[in-house]
Amino acid sequence: MSNHEGTCLHFLYAFLDTHRMLEKLEEVKRNIQSEINSITALKDAEQLKIKYLGRKGIIHDFMKLIPSLPAEQRAAIGQRINSLKTEVTNIVEELLKKFSVEAISKAKHEIFDITLPGKRPLVGKKHLITQTIDDIKEVFARLGFDVVYGPEVESEYYNFEALNIPADHPSRTDFDTFYIKNDILLRSQTSTVQIRVMEKQKPPIRIIAPGRVYRPDTVDARHSFMFHQVEGLLVDEGVSFADLRGVLNQFIKTYFGQDVQMRFRPSFFPFTEPSAEVDISCSLCKGKGCSVCSYSGWVEILGAGMVDPNVFKAVHYDAEKYTGFAFGMGVERITMLKYGINDIRLFYENDIRFLSQF
C-alpha cells in the first residue's frame, strides 16, 4: 500500500486538465490488477477496499475533482470514474468472499474437492460384430423373423446341392471352399440354414440365420478367410418380389437411415430366381460419387431373390402353392460401411483401442 497522502496532493496540483486525468484513471486500473495478485488473506482484501473505495479512498478523490473540470467534460469523466468504481467494487467483493470462506473452513477441516475425477468402473462392450448382428436381429424381429442357427461344418448337400448349385459349379472347387473331407466342408454361406429349416418345418417360414462362414481368401484389408453373414428366408402363400423389396426397404431405412435410397440390380445366384443385388445410396458422399462407392454413388450391401423352384423341390415344398424370398448380407461389410472402417482385420485383432470405440 503506497503513500496515500502523497497521491492526493499530487492530484490537487496536477489534475487540472482532463487529459492527464484520464491517463491517471488508466494508471489506477493497472495498479489494482497488480495489487490483486499479491493478496493472500482477508485483511489484505479489506485494506484494498479502504484504499480504493473508502471515504478517503482514491475513487473518492477523483470524484472530488469533478467540479473543477470544464463543465462540458464533467459528464464523460464522471461516467469513467463510476465505471471504475463498479469494477473495483466487484473485484473487492469477490476477494472478500473468497478469503473469508476459505479462512473459516480451513480452520475447521480439509476441503472436499468435488472437482476431482470420479472412480470409473471398467465397463466392457459388445464386439462391434455382435452389435451389428443384434441390430439386424432387432429390425427383423419387428417384422416377425425368428433367429435360427445351423452348423458351420456342413455336408456338400446343404452348402451346394440342395441350393441348386450343381456338382460342376465353379464355387465348389477348392479355391472357393475349405474342405474337411470329400463331401464335408466349412460352409461358405449361411444359405445352408435355409435348407435345414425347410426340411424340418412346413410354411409359413420367417427366419434369419446369423453366423460364421469361411472362404479360402488370403487375408488383407478387404478379405478374410472367416467372416459373418446373416441369411433371411420368408416362405408363404402369395409372397412376391414386391414384398422382398418392401421388407429390405424397411431394413435399409431402419438400419442405415430414413434418407438412404435402395436400388435393385439383376444378378445371378443358383438358389434364387429372379436374383438381385441390392445397393444403397452411398452415405459417405450422398450419391455424388467417392472412393467408397467407386464413384458410382451406390454401394452393394446384399444379395437377394425369390427362392428358386429347384430349392423348393429339394425340400419337397409345392412350388406352385408357395413362393418365398431369401437374402444374405455380409455383416463385416455393412458394419464397415456404417462406421467407416477401412480394414476388416481390425474385427479380429481385438485391440481394446478399437473395441472401446463402439
Binding site: L122, G124, K125, K126, H127, I129, T130, F140, A141, G144, F145, D146, V147, P151, E152, V153, E154, S155, D168, H169, P170, D174, F178, Y179, I180, K181, I184, L186, P204, R206, R212, Y214, D217, F225, D236, G238, S240, F241, A242, R245, G246, V247, M262, R263, F264, R265, P266, S267, F268, E273, P274, S275, A276, P309, T323, Y348, E349, N350, R353, S356
Partner: protein
C-alpha cells in the same frame, strides 16, 4: 445396362473410342461376346442388332483352277466322342499371307488385354470376342495324314501347348489329334507344333462345340485356363458355330488374302431343338407382385428375341392368360417359366416393381438359448469385460492340440486345403485365441485386460463334428475374483444347483497352473468347464481364465421367476471361526455344517481364512457367518444357541474342528 443385370464396372476412353468393362454373371455366357452385349442393349433400349458381315466368296470347285477344291478333298474329320464334341466344323483357307493384323483390329484387341500375334491368330481371337464362340486355326501342312480326329487322349501321350507348357495327357481328356498325335486339348488350347506361324501358307479353321463339364475338368487337371475354356465351361450357343466360322473366314479372306476352299466339314450329333416354355400371366404377376398385361410381357420377350408362338387365339384357353415362347438358342439359362419371369422383371426394371409390405403380421419368438446368450454377454460386459471375436481356424501348435473338452473321438478336424499352416485346424477350445488377443494388447501397452468370447469349438464326431458353443474369458484378476464372477453369473441365470470344484490335472495343466485351477461339475455330474490361473505364457503376469460350456449353461439356466415373499421376521446372524486341519476344504466343511441338519439355518457365508500366530502349524482358521431365520416368527436366542452348538459339535466330532477363542 447395370440396371438390366450387366454391371458396367469401368468405362475408359481409348483414343476416339471407349472401352467398356462389363461384369457378366456365370449364367450368361451369351454375353461373353460383343454381339451378346449388343443384344442386351437392343432389348433394353428397344433397338435391333446389326450383325457383322459374314459373306465371302470361296473358290469354285468346278473350275479347273487348282484352288477350286472341296474341303473334304484336303482333310478328313472324324469325331469319336460325339457326346463330348456334339458339333465340329472345319474350313480351309489356302495360300494365305501371315502378317500383322490391321491396326484397328490390333487396337481393339490390345484394349481388352489381348496381345496381337499375327493376322490369323488375331482374327480367331477377334471373332471369339465378337461372337463368344472360340475358334482355332491349325497349320494345315503340319497336320499328319490330312486327318483330324476328335478322340480321348491315350495314356502316355503328351502335348506342348502354344503357351509353351508341356502337359501329360490322360484318357479322360478330350483331344484334337491328327493321324499321329494330339494337336490340341479340345476347347482349351492348341499345340505348339501345329500353330500358325510366319511360314504358314494353308490353314484349317476349327470351330466346334465341346461339352462344358469335360472342358472344366480338363482345364482344372491340366492347370490351363484360357479365354476359350472360360467360354466352353459356361456353355456356348449351340447354333453359334456357323456364324463364327463364316465370320472368321470372311476376315481371313479380307486380311490374309488366300483362297477359301469350297464347302465345310460339319459333323453334328443330333439336331438342336429350340426349347418351348409357357408363361402364365397370372403367375408372372403373382411372383413379381405386379399387375401387368400380356402385351407388356410379350413385348419384353420379343425385344429379347424370344419367339412368341401364340399370338393368335388357339381356341383352347383365352390367349390373354398365357404366352408360349420359343427360347433363342444362345439362352441356355432360360428353360423354365420362372426364368421367363426373371427376364421380364429384368427388362421391366427391378426398380419399377413396387416396394410393398403386404406380408402378414407375425410375432417373433426369442429362443431360450438367445435369451441366455444375451444375458451372459450383458452380465460380463457389466463386469467390465470386452467381448472379442477370434478365428475359428487355428494352427496345430501343442497348445491348440490340448483336449480341454473330453472328446471321445480325440480326432482333430483339419482342413484339407488350408491357405497357410497357421490356419489349418478347427479349434477345440477358445483359450489360446484369447491369450493371443491379450498378448496383442500387451504389445500396445494395455496390460490389464478383461476379455471374453462366445463361440463354437469343434469336436470330432461320427460324420459332422460336434459343434459346441463355449464361453471363454481371460482377465487380470485373481482366482477368487473370477470364481466369484462365475458364481454370480450362475445365480444371475437362475441356476441354483450346486457346483463341484475339482482340482485340475492331466493334460490341461499345460494351460492352467495345476494348483490354482479347477474343473467345474454340476451336481448331476455334467462337466461345465474349467477355471484357473494361466501358466506363464508370454504374458508377464499370468491372468485368470475360464472356459465354460455355453450350451450346458443355457440348458441349466432358468429365467422364469416367481415371487417369494421375504420373511417379515428378523434374521439372527452368528459369526464363527473354527480351527481345522489344512487338509479340509471349505466345500467339505460346508457339507458337514449342512449335515448337522439344524432348523432355520438359511445361509452359510464364508468370510475369511487365517493362518499365523495363535494358529498351530498345519492348521488354519476358517471364519464364516451363519444366518438363521424363521418364516413365521422371531427366533429366540436360545434356539439359535442350540443350533449353533449342534453345528460345532458335528464339526468337532467329524473333522476335529475347534472353535477359535477370540
Amino acid at each position: 445396362m447395370t440396371n438390366a443385370g450387366l454391371v458396367v464396372a469401368d468405362i475408359q476412353p481409348v483414343e476416339d473410342d471407349f472401352c467398356i468393362d462389363v461384369e457378366v454373371t456365370s449364367n450368361r455366357p451369351d454375353c461373353l461376346g460383343v454381339i451378346g452385349i449388343a443384344r442386351e442393349v437392343a432389348a433394353v433400349v428397344g433397338a435391333s442388332v446389326q450383325f457383322p458381315e459374314t459373306n465371302y466368296i470361296s473358290a469354285d470347285p468346278r473350275s479347273e483352277s487348282r484352288t477350286g477344291i472341296e474341303v473334304s478333298k484336303l482333310i478328313s474329320v472324324a469325331v469319336d466322342e460325339p457326346i463330348l464334341c456334339p458339333h465340329y466344323t472345319a474350313r480351309v483357307v489356302r495360300h494365305i499371307t501371315v502378317k500383322p493384323s490391321p491396326e484397328w483390329m490390333q487396337k481393339r484387341l490390345k484394349c481388352i488385354g489381348l496381345r496381337p500375334v499375327n493376322n490369323i491368330v488375331d482374327i480367331t481371337n477377334y471373332v471369339m470376342m465378337e461372337t463368344g464362340q472360340p475358334l482355332h486355326a491349325f497349320d494345315l501342312d503340319k497336320l499328319s495324314d490330312q486327318k483330324i480326329i476328335v478322340r480321348s487322349a491315350k495314356s502316355g501321350e503328351e502335348i506342348v501347348t502354344i503357351n509353351g507348357a508341356r502337359r501329360a495327357l490322360f484318357h479322360d481328356m478330350l483331344v484334337i489329334a491328327d493321324g499321329k498325335r494330339p494337336v490340341a486339348i479340345a476347347g482349351i488350347m492348341g499345340g505348339r507344333e501345329t500353330e500358325v506361324s510366319e511360314s504358314t501358307r494353308n490353314i484349317l479353321l476349327e470351330c466346334a462345340q465341346f461339352e462344358p463339364r469335360q472342358v472344366r475338368r480338363t482345364s482344372k487337371a491340366t492347370g490351363i485356363a484360357s479365354d476359350s475354356s472360360y467360354r466352353f465351361e459356361r456353355g456356348v450357343d449351340p447354333e453359334g458355330v456357323e456364324l463364327a466360322s463364316k465370320r472368321a473366314v470372311k476376315l481371313i479372306k479380307d486380311f490374309a488374302e488366300g483362297e477359301v476352299a469350297h464347302g465345310v466339314i460339319d459333323i453334328r450329333s443330333g439336331k438342336y431343338e429350340k426349347k418351348r416354355i409357357t408363361l402364365r400371366i397370372e403367375r408372372l404377376n403373382k411372383v413379381l407382385g405386379l399387375e401387368i398385361k400380356r402385351t407388356i410381357a410379350s413385348d419384353i420377350l420379343k425385344r429379347l428375341q424370344f419367339n412368341i408362338l401364340n399370338e393368335v387365339e388357339t381356341g383352347l384357353k383365352p390367349v390373354s392368360t398365357f404366352i408360349d415362347v420359343e427360347v433363342p438358342s444362345y439362352r441356355g439359362d432360360v428353360y423354365r417359366e420362372i426364368d421367363l419371369i426373371e427376364e421380364i422383371a429384368r427388362i421391366y426394371g427391378y426398380n419399377n416393381i413396387p416396394t410393398k409390405t403386404s406380408i402378414s403380421v407375425r410375432g417373433s419368438v426369442k429362443s431360450k438359448y438367445e435369451i441366455v446368450e444375451d444375458s451372459v454377454r450383458q452380465f460380463l460386459i457389466g463386469m467390465g469385460f470386452y467381448e472379442v471375436k477370434t478365428y475359428s481356424i487355428v494352427d496345430t501348435s501343442p497348445l491348440q492340440s490340448l483336449n480341454l473338452w473330453p472328446d471321445p473321438n480325440k480326432g482333430s478336424i483339419d482342413i484339407k486345403n488350408p491357405l497357410r499352416q497357421e490356419e489349418s485346424r478347427l479349434r477345440t477350445h477358445l483359450l489360446p485365441s484369447l491369450l493371443n488377443a491379450k498378448t496383442h494388447n500387451m504389445h500396445y501397452g494395455i496390460n490389464q485386460v478383461k476379455i471374453f468370447e462366445i463361440a463354437k469349438v469343434y469336436l470330432a464326431g461320427e460324420n459332422l463334428p460336434q459343434e459346441r458353443t463355449c464361453i471363454s474369458a481371460v482377465a487380470d484378476i485373481d482366482f477368487y475374483d473370477l470364481k466369484g464372477i462365475v458364481e454370480a453369473m450362475l445365480s444371475y441365470l437362475g441356476i441354483t444347483r450346486e457346483c463341484e470344484w475339482q482340482v485340475c490335472g492331466g493334460e490341461v495343466s499345460k494351460l492352467f497352473q495345476q494348483e490354482k485351477s479347477a474343473k467345474i461339475y454340476f451336481d448331476d455330474g455334467k462337466f461345465l468347464g474349467l477355471l484357473g490361473k494361466a501358466m506363464d505364457l508370454e504374458c508377464k503376469i499370468s491372468p485368470c481364465m475360464m472356459e465354460l460350456n455355453m450350451d450346458l449353461l443355457a440348458e441349466k439356466s432358468d429365467l422364469t421367476r416367481k415371487f417369494q415373499a421375504p420373511s417379515q421376521y428378523p434374521p439372527v446372524f452368528r459369526d464363527l471361526a473354527i480351527i481345522v486341519n489344512e487338509a479340509y476344504t471349505w466345500s467339505e466343511i460346508l457339507r458337514w455344517i449342512k449335515s448337522a441338519n439344524v432348523n432355520y439355518l438359511k445361509e452359510i457365508n464364508f468370510f475369511d481364512v487365517y493362518r499365523g500366530k495363535q494358529i498351530p502349524s498345519g492348521k488354519k482358521s476358517i471364519a464364516f457367518n451363519l444366518c438363521f431365520q424363521a418364516p413365521d416368527r422371531t427366533l429366540r436366542n436360545d434356539e439359535v444357541d442350540v443350533a449353533q452348538q449342534a453345528i460345532l459339535d458335528t464339526l468337532h466330532k467329524i473333522i476335529g474342528a475347534e472353535l477359535r477363542k477370540q
